[in-house]
């Protein structure tokens, strides 16, 4: 059952071939056995998971289940879940048992999905390797000497090692797509505003967006159907009619299912900077898309090279503001010894945050401070506009933009940890999408020296259903997404 799609799992549950309790217990047993190898989960609470599974079995018996009822899912530890330890990968929240549910969690609960556990992540989602977690690095199931990517590295490793059928992630600069690429998964960052951010611990509020991570585009579509929707409690949630993100997947399409589709190839994605073995897989995927009937057009995103510098002003600025709430007063860590109120703040924050989080808070405090605001923060926002305009122009000439997700396959644990700038550049192909607020996906496109590579597909605003179909048609014609890491049987 480890190789089943979510649809097949739902069918097996509906046909009473197994119960949700059995399915959940099966995954809990696998987690107990394999998690120590990869450190994908921070918190497991078997009693809570099994209680949800029992309730799901009752719904299934009564015939009131939906497509996700009884299916266990791993939740990134950035989502507040009532009664669950919710750490965000930080010592700061090492003792925080959430008194409420994030909207994403609430929606999965209402759908009857089972929360299988909370997955490891870079501290406050700041990282591209999952090495900044207070709870230790996550290891890539494809090679446990290597990183799984980040920040949703625990979710990616959990699904890749079959310790969950699917998982949630969040993506501020690539944190769903890059770990999906490095762990051979499909992952989707939706258009900004499609999934509610309520109860999702904030990093950079104008960029953060939650999305699904799974074994296929079809699984991602099913998860997104539950995750997406207007939420009064998130002031940036978009009030749009509900849609079925899987609606295009089952259409009968013949031998050229993507005939008429125009795929844009930005020259900036195909220049130097990408490892040759990754580029070879991306080129092969382009050939596959031509066979499926798509045409390619050469396009340019001339300001893309400025996306990393602009991001490292905007994201830290928003983070320094968001993370000011962690002061040792209302929740979270408080230093044991201090002399006065200011000393309590400064020591609680110095001891509660890790090095990367502190660096980003300091960058943010600096670029927002008097005398530097115009030169850094406003300049970054103007460049953000130029980057978004590049995409608007590009989408006049094509339907989907294609390129690599990550410039390399998974790197070794420790390889980039000492040099923040090298780490930041591993998100060179993903960050522009967040700045523009567009939907982006990563899907597996083959192995290079035994390690997964990822193909990035970027769509226009609200084009998730089409993006998922473009990914799905490739997955119908290839089997890269079905390749599994060994050693987790």
């Amino acid at each position: 059952m480890m190789e089943h799609s979510l649809k097949a799992l739902a069918q097996a549950l509906a046909a009473k071939e197994m119960s949700s309790v059995e399915l959940t217990q099966h995954y809990l047993d696998r987690i107990a056995h394999h998690n120590p190898q990869i450190n994908a989960y921070i918190t497991i609470d078997a009693e809570r998971s099994l209680a949800q599974a029992r309730a799901a079995d009752e719904r299934l018996a009564a015939g009131t289940g939906g497509p996700l009822t009884g299916i266990p899912l791993a939740q990134k530890d950035i989502f507040c879940a009532k009664g669950w330890l919710t750490t965000c990968g930080s010592k700061m929240l090492g003792n925080f048992v959430s008194p409420y549910d994030a909207t994403v969690i609430e929606r999965f609960n209402a759908a009857g999905a089972v929360n299988l556990g909370k997955t490891n992540m870079d501290e406050f989602a700041m990282g591209s390797s999952n090495e900044t977690s207070f709870f230790g690095a996550v290891k890539n199931p494809w090679d446990t000497d290597r990183v799984p990517g980040g920040s949703s590295g625990g979710s990616a490793a959990a699904v890749a090692a079959r310790l969950a059928p699917a998982a949630t992630g969040t993506d501020t600069g690539g944190s769903i797509r890059q770990p999906a690429a490095l762990c051979n998964l499909s992952g989707l960052k939706p258009t900004y505003g499609v999934v509610s951010r309520y109860g999702m611990i904030a990093f950079a509020s104008s960029l953060d967006q939650a999305g699904p991570m799974g074994r296929s585009a079809e699984d991602c579509a099913l998860l997104l159907n539950t995750m997406a929707g207007f939420d009064q409690r998130d002031s940036t949630s978009l009030d749009r009619p509900a849609e079925d993100y899987a609606r295009e997947l089952n259409a009968d399409a013949g031998a050229k299912p993507l005939a008429g589709l125009k795929i844009g190839l930005p020259q900036e994605f195909f220049g130097e900077g990408c490892a040759a073995d990754v580029m070879q897989r991306v080129e092969a995927a382009i050939g596959e898309y031509r066979k499926l009937g798509a045409e390619t057009v050469d396009i340019s995103l001339p300001n893309m090279k400025l996306s990393v510098p602009a991001y490292y002003v905007i994201a830290p600025a928003e983070a320094s503001s968001n993370l000011s709430r962690f002061d040792g007063v209302r929740y979270g860590y408080r230093a044991e010894e201090y002399s006065d109120l200011n000393d309590m703040y400064s020591k609680s924050r110095a001891q509660g945050f890790g090095a990367e989080v502190k660096r980003r808070i300091l960058i943010g405090a600096y670029v927002l401070s008097h005398g530097y605001y115009d030169a850094y923060y406003l300049q970054a926002q103007r460049i953000r506009r130029l980057i978004a305009n590049d995409f608007v122009a590009a989408f006049e000439r094509c339907d989907v933009i294609l390129g690599p997700t990550s410039p390399s396959t998974a790197f070794k644990i420790g390889e980039k940890a000492a040099d923040p700038v090298q780490m930041y550049l591993s998100d060179i192909y993903t960050i522009a999408v967040n700045l523009a607020g567009l939907p982006g996906m990563s899907i597996p496109c083959g192995l290079a020296s035994g390690l997964p590579t990822g193909l990035q597909l970027i769509g226009n605003y609200f084009a998730e259903a089409n993006l998922l179909n473009v990914a799905h048609r490739y997955q119908q014609a290839t089997d890269w997404h079905l390749q599994l890491a060994t050693g987790f049987d």
């Binding site: 505003g193 002031s235 000011s324 979270g332 000393d343 924050r349 660096r359 130029l386």
Partner: protein, 95 residues
């Protein structure tokens, strides 16, 4: 440009993060590395470009002025480091 040790101490104070002298040195090296990346922005002429604060052009929604949330003070204060009689306790700030 590059930051000075003094500036590191100043922004650490603004951000309320205690930094020892030893930490300030390594922080300075890292921040200067990051700022040399950020400086690439400065070569771009952005005159007349409207700053983009957000991915969607949104107006703040208004709602009716009525109570929509229950009082859950006890649940929310249960996770606080120190409370008394419904109040959060901090070190004395007024003599």
């Amino acid at each position: 440009m590059s930051l000075t040790l003094e500036q590191v101490h100043r922004i650490a104070h603004l951000a309320r993060i205690e930094v020892s002298d030893a930490e300030a040195h390594s922080t300075l090296v890292h921040l200067n590395g990051i700022f040399s990346l950020i400086e690439e922005m400065q070569a771009v002429d952005t005159q007349g470009v409207e700053p983009m604060a957000h991915a969607q052009d949104l107006a703040q929604r208004l709602r009716e002025d009525r109570v929509t949330e229950d009082d859950r003070r006890d649940a929310f204060q249960a996770v606080a480091p120190e409370i008394e009689a419904g109040l959060y306790l901090v070190p004395k700030v007024i003599e």
